[in-house]
């Protein structure tokens, strides 16, 4: 478990440095068990920083999300570092961003959090409905301990754990400048059972399944915006000429959107599960991403976000890549 006092001390030290512009971490949310991103620019603000299994957000998104406005003539661009707290899965987003040369390693300062799993907030709020007062979640052994309204409850870890954590291969960050705790050994693995179950169905069944999900989509683009790998300044979805996906919301365009979104993450998705977490209409987006993840691993022996030196999957090839599908 991350020692909060130690975290704040390290954060204070970092944000006091001249070459650091801001630190992105977590703080208590506005209600219930929620936690949310915190943006610290002043040593006086570090005392709000926390880390707990409620800290679900992937903060790597903010490194590339921040708008880069033109610098007025006569002014120098602010090139100071951004410090960011990352869990194991989140760190892979940084690795993948750097693999794609989104920015230089020197631009960021990484505070790694060896992670034993975060909660699925939907599961928490279903189990404890109507909690308004700020509550806390800690993991003790194989149980989550939830404190709220002066009450304390224990829940088995498996009941509230986020699905992605049950398949996590990299609990300890793969890139960091400072590690906030002891390394955590791999405690889970991925067998792609969900993807395989769907693969086995007939074409009609598959489409019936996806048609129902896609028809719910309201195209709020939260899955795109939250994704640490979706950082194009000019997204293909926003372009009017050519307009690949029409803005109108119907099964055809929604399907096109989901194909395009998922395909753009082929060999890039690092399995942080943020897209599925944020979807307001519960589309199982990870089942799309995981299909690519599985294929990429099986066909090309490539795992995104694990090696910043490797060339990105689709901008390279091997002469003997499989071609049994080609006529």
């Amino acid at each position: 478990m991350v020692d909060i006092e130690k975290l704040r001390e390290i954060a204070r030290e970092i944000i006091s440095r001249d070459d650091v512009r801001q630190l992105i971490g977590y703080r208590q949310g506005t209600y219930g068990f929620r936690a949310r991103p915190a943006f610290v620019t002043d040593p006086g603000e570090v005392d709000k920083l926390i880390f707990s299994p409620a800290c679900v957000n992937n903060l790597a998104t903010y490194i590339t999300l921040e708008e880069r406005l033109p610098v007025p003539r006569g002014q120098e661009p602010d090139l100071r570092k951004v410090a960011v707290m990352v869990k194991g899965c989140d760190s892979r987003a940084l690795v993948q961003q750097m693999e794609e040369k989104a920015y230089e390693r020197e631009r960021i300062l990484v505070l790694g959090i060896p992670c034993t799993g975060v909660v699925d907030m939907d599961k928490v709020e279903k189990r404890f409905p109507g909690v308004l007062a700020r509550g806390e979640i800690v993991l003790e052994g194989d149980k989550f301990l939830l404190t709220y309204d002066g009450k304390e409850e224990e829940v088995a870890k498996g009941e509230l754990l986020a699905d992605k954590c049950t398949r996590c291969r990299y609990p300890t960050p793969l890139v960091y400048d400072q590690l906030l705790d002891e390394e955590v050994a791999r405690f889970a693995d991925d067998d792609y059972a969900d993807v395989e179950a769907l693969e086995k169905r007939s074409a009609e069944e598959k489409w019936a399944y996806w048609e129902e999900k896609f028809s719910r989509c309201i195209r709020c683009y939260s899955c795109r915006n939250v994704c640490p790998m979706c950082y194009c300044e000019d997204c293909v979805l926003d372009r009017l000429n050519p307009q690949w996906m029409r803005r109108s919301v119907d099964v055809s365009e929604n399907t096109a959107y989901h194909i395009a979104r998922a395909y753009h993450l082929a060999g890039r998705c690092i399995q942080c599960g943020e897209c599925q977490r944020v979807c307001p209409v519960d589309i199982p987006l990870m089942e799309l991403n995981r299909k690519f993840y599985k294929d990429v691993e099986e066909l090309y022996d490539y795992e995104p976000g694990t090696n910043a030196e490797a060339p990105p999957l689709l901008s390279t090839f091997k002469v003997d890549d499989r071609e049994d599908f080609i006529m």
């Binding site: 949310g29 506005t30 209600y31 219930g32 929620r34 936690a35 949310r36 991103p37 943006f39 957000n57 998104t61 903010y62 999300l65 708008e67 406005l69 939907d122 109507g130 909690v131 308004l132 129902e212 719910r216 309201i218 195209r219 709020c220 683009y221 939260s222 795109r224 915006n225 939250v226 926003d238 029409r246 803005r247 109108s248 919301v249 119907d250 943020e274 977490r277 944020v278 307001p280 209409v281 519960d282």
Partner: protein, 341 residues
């Protein structure tokens, strides 16, 4: 007006009766509750808290054809809303009905929007009072609404345990009550009093609040205030808060043309939180960052709208708080606005 009761075991037959109209009711799809047209009463799911997507999309569809055209032909075929026929939205929450009443002012303001207004005219709203507030983030009472609010509704249903109390509120509502008369019985004596007690109890259970007094006047004075940078830092720029807001009503108009030359002009929801919402053809963007966009969202709801229409364009349904992926909380922002100097 006549107060009736609809026994719970007769709800299905009442809904069956209503399927002769275009019947819209909350329905469950996986764990998500969405208002949709139902053909079969079994699809309706009335034991819900509140729907994820507000029923505004029934009267203000996310994508709506305005007219069709054919390349080379001067003729246009305008959409005839009348064809959709009488619509009944069954079981919507009072806040969502009130939101429609608020948005009506915009669509009937300087230009009378024929599509929206026609559809509103054809639609009867049957509300379902919130005996229990659907979410911890409900704050309707701060904005002049109530869990038992009747503004915008034609009929209000109150869950009394084994039956619903049916109160017609408008002429349209009475007409619909008439249609359903075979399934209704006289309300038991004392029901109305009991409903009033339930209403008072429900109001008491609304836990969050904000004093909106002075906010519309104060907001424009905080244009360059540092609070906007702070509250928008975590914003992802997605459309959840606006698309799922029952009062947000921005739209974009686009032409869609097929290779055959057939095409349509359609309007579709747009969101002020998207970066391309204000993007000019020149490449200039007057709202270049999430700071300006967040400021606009709050200011539109709490300042521009009340200035023009004398009502705040927020009903306190709490959707934007519940569903924001990064826990941006409109009440917290408003508190900061109140405290700002």
């Amino acid at each position: 007006m006549a107060v009736k009761k609809l026994s719970k075991d007769k709800v299905k037959e009442a809904l069956q009766e209503l399927t002769k109209f275009r019947l819209i009711a909350p329905a469950k799809s996986d764990e998500v509750v969405i208002f949709k047209q139902i053909e079969n009463p079994d699809e309706a799911y009335l034991e819900y808290g509140n729907s994820t997507v507000p029923p505004k999309r029934v009267v203000f569809p996310q994508t709506e054809t305005l007219f069709r055209f054919l390349r080379g032909s001067p003729e246009l075929k305008e959409k005839d809303v009348e064809e959709e026929g009488t619509t009944v939205i069954f079981g919507l929450r009072p806040c969502d009905a009130r939101a429609m009443a608020i948005v009506d002012r915009l669509f009937s303001w300087d230009y009378e929007d024929p599509y929206y207004l026609k559809r509103r005219q054809l639609t009867t709203l049957v509300g379902l009072a919130c005996v229990e507030p659907p979410s911890v983030n409900c704050f309707c009472t701060s904005l002049g609404g109530s869990p038992f609010g009747t503004e915008g509704l034609d009929i209000l249903l109150t869950d009394m345990g084994d039956h619903y109390l049916v109160q017609a509120l408008t002429e349209k509502g009475e007409k619909l009550q008439e249609t359903l008369s075979a399934h209704l019985e006289d309300a038991p004596a004392g029901d109305e009093k009991k409903a009033e007690e339930l209403a008072a109890a429900a109001e008491g259970k609304i836990a969050r609040s904000i004093n909106t007094e002075g906010i519309p006047e104060k907001l424009p004075t905080l244009w360059e205030h540092e609070l906007w940078k702070k509250v928008s830092a975590a914003c992802l720029g997605c459309g959840i808060c606006t698309f799922l807001c029952p009062t947000c009503h921005c739209f974009d108009i686009q032409d869609e043309v097929e290779e055959t030359g057939e095409g349509r002009r359609a309007r579709m929801w747009d969101s002020c939180m998207f970066s391309e919402y204000t993007l000019h053809a020149s490449g200039h963007n007057p709202r270049p960052t999430r700071r300006e966009r967040t400021r606009n969202r709050i200011s539109h709801k709490y300042s521009y709208y009340p200035k023009r229409f004398e009502v705040i364009a927020c009903v306190g349904c709490g959707r934007c708080i519940n569903l924001c992926p990064v826990n941006i909380d409109i009440l917290e922002i408003l508190e900061q606005v109140v405290d700002a100097s």
